[in-house]
């Protein structure tokens, strides 16, 4: 109780301690490959998690995104991804284009922003946002991209030497009329793709791959989404090395409710003992 009363009068959020200092630097939106921003601002510390998963992440009970992916928990707050991936996550605006709607008073123009985020090591996300101002669209798209971060499975083309460098098998993704097919490539082949999906694949951390596309790839929005869909499917493909039976583990919620349930009983017992003594 003493520690509660000590510093809580003024800054409400600060009173609980900012122990989780592992935010690090974040990438920023804008031009170019990937930027690293410097310096935090106070507003960012004020993340008050809304979901239970957010609360667990803020407390530090969940240390990696993989725990979230393993149990297919929906990520509803982009700060979760920020906390877990931290400074490794870079983002880039792929395109800002005006979209128009015909109204009686003329045309209403809004801006649509396509942003891809990734850590070049197995996590990638794509965000699309429409807004009246460019800056709003970009910010919104970065948030949506972080909410959509997925794991990407990488494998080998031939000999299993070194780190995985290509897709584990041939996978295909579709969006609209565009289908994109990713084919494993030997080391050194590089990403053999058009400029736009190449960026997505680079952010995913795939080093070598052959691609083949079909459909109206002129609609680059669909092209990018088809590539992203393809990357999502890499972990959905059952290969022989996954034939071993899964050992199910407890979901983080279950694990931590049990953990939280135990100490209270222990402490109550201690209190009653001291009273009797």
């Amino acid at each position: 109780m003493a520690e509660r009363g000590a510093g809580d009068r003024g800054g409400f959020g600060r009173g609980f301690g900012r122990g989780r200092g592992d935010r690090g630097d974040r990438g920023r939106g804008g031009r170019g490959r990937g930027r690293r921003g410097g310096g935090r601002r106070d507003e960012e510390e004020k993340w008050v998690p809304v979901t239970k998963l957010g609360r667990l992440v803020k407390e530090g009970k969940i240390t990696s995104l993989e725990q979230i992916y393993l149990h297919s928990l929906p990520v509803k707050e982009h700060q979760i991804v920020d906390t877990l991936l931290g400074g490794r996550l870079k983002d880039e605006v792929m395109k800002i284009m005006p979209v128009q709607k015909q109204t009686r008073a003329g045309q209403r123009t809004r801006f649509k922003a396509f942003v891809v985020v990734g850590d070049s090591d197995g996590h990638v996300g794509l965000g699309v946002k429409c807004a009246k101002e460019v800056a709003t669209a970009i910010r919104g798209a970065i948030i949506l991209a972080k909410l959509s971060v997925v794991p990407v499975r990488r494998g080998y083309w031939g000999n299993k030497i070194g780190k995985p460098h290509t897709v584990p098998c041939k996978v295909t993704g579709k969006c609209g009329s565009v289908t994109v097919r990713l084919v494993p490539a030997p080391r050194g082949a590089g990403i053999v793709a058009a400029r736009v999906p190449k960026k997505v694949l680079q952010f995913a951390g795939i080093e070598d791959v052959y691609t083949s596309s079909r459909g109206s790839t002129k609609t680059l929005g669909n092209f990018v989404k088809a590539t992203f869909d393809c990357l999502m499917k890499t972990y959905g493909f059952l290969t022989p090395d996954l034939w071993l039976e899964t050992r199910f583990s407890k979901s983080p919620f279950q694990e931590y409710t049990d953990l939280l349930a135990k100490p209270t009983k222990a402490i109550l017992i201690e209190n009653s003992e001291t009273i009797e003594a």
Binding site: R31, V48, P74, K76, M94, V134, T136, R139, K218, S251
Partner: protein, 353 residues
Amino acid sequence: MGEVHIGLPGPWAENCREKADHYTTKIGGLPDWPIPEPNIKRELLYCRVCDGRLCLVAQVYAPILSTKLNIEERAIYIFGCPNQDCGKNPDSWRAIRLQKGDQDSEPNLALSNTLPSEKESFPMDGASNWLKDTLLMNDSGKLNDGSVGDKKLDDLARAFSEASALSSCSKKQNRKKRNNSSTRARVGRTTAEETPVPVLPCFYIYFQTNQAHGSIDAVSSFYSSLTLKEDVYPATDTDEEEKWVGETYEYDKALGADTTYLKFKKQMDTYPEQCLRYSYGGIPLLATSNSIEPDKCIHCGSPLVYELQLFSPILYFLQQAANASVACSADGWSWITLIVYTCSRVCTSYLNS
């Protein structure tokens, strides 16, 4: 009617069992009843599922000050069960509305001499003009936190209100009642000391009126990770084949979150710490699109109107401050929002003597 009041967290209470008055709006702590506690029916304060004592989650001073209806003495108390298993069960939640009856409008009290002082002064010792309505909240679609096998986080807790009938007595009975209530109060106090009431960590709420919607877009500029220092536009495409064509407006969508939730989150981000949202007769802020319409008031049958809703930052703050030896904890709960509807006719019922 249309104005929305946002309840933001204020200072912590020095002692979570400290007394305030029924005009305070607070989270946690002990409820400040304007009438002595034994006057309240026992079953209202106990969980319907496990029969354990309920703890106060929120106490909101909610007067109605419109031209048609003027009830200054009105408060809403929201209770929840601290038991780990009950938190998921909608039946364990309860909301009680207490208000001071308008004596001119009550046919029963027309027989008694109405003292104007009774309206102005607010005696804490069993003024039986207090009419109490209990709102029983049924939460449907509560948050499943994975333990039952449902791994979805996306849930909404709704509260439905019902008023239960308790009749108030005439002045003569008032006197008798006062005597009775005082003796009962003494007895009540001793029993209360023996079985400690579970209490959540307590903090107070201050209200702010929601500012114009135009500022919502400005909020996302708080995130420095999203601000742009360089030129906003990406490099112009030099290749002729890469004209992006055929794009139209697209609604926001992410893997784990749909449009409704994203709009909800946008509103939450205007005040990230908001715990309470009060808007009598307004529109609730929903987090999922599968909303359930509330039933009618069980006593007068009139439709229910939205009054206030609680948000999950409350759970965050309570869990941060949880000190297991003193208070019970909010760990078993995992809702995103809790909505309270009240009777639109503000019907009242009388205390049974």
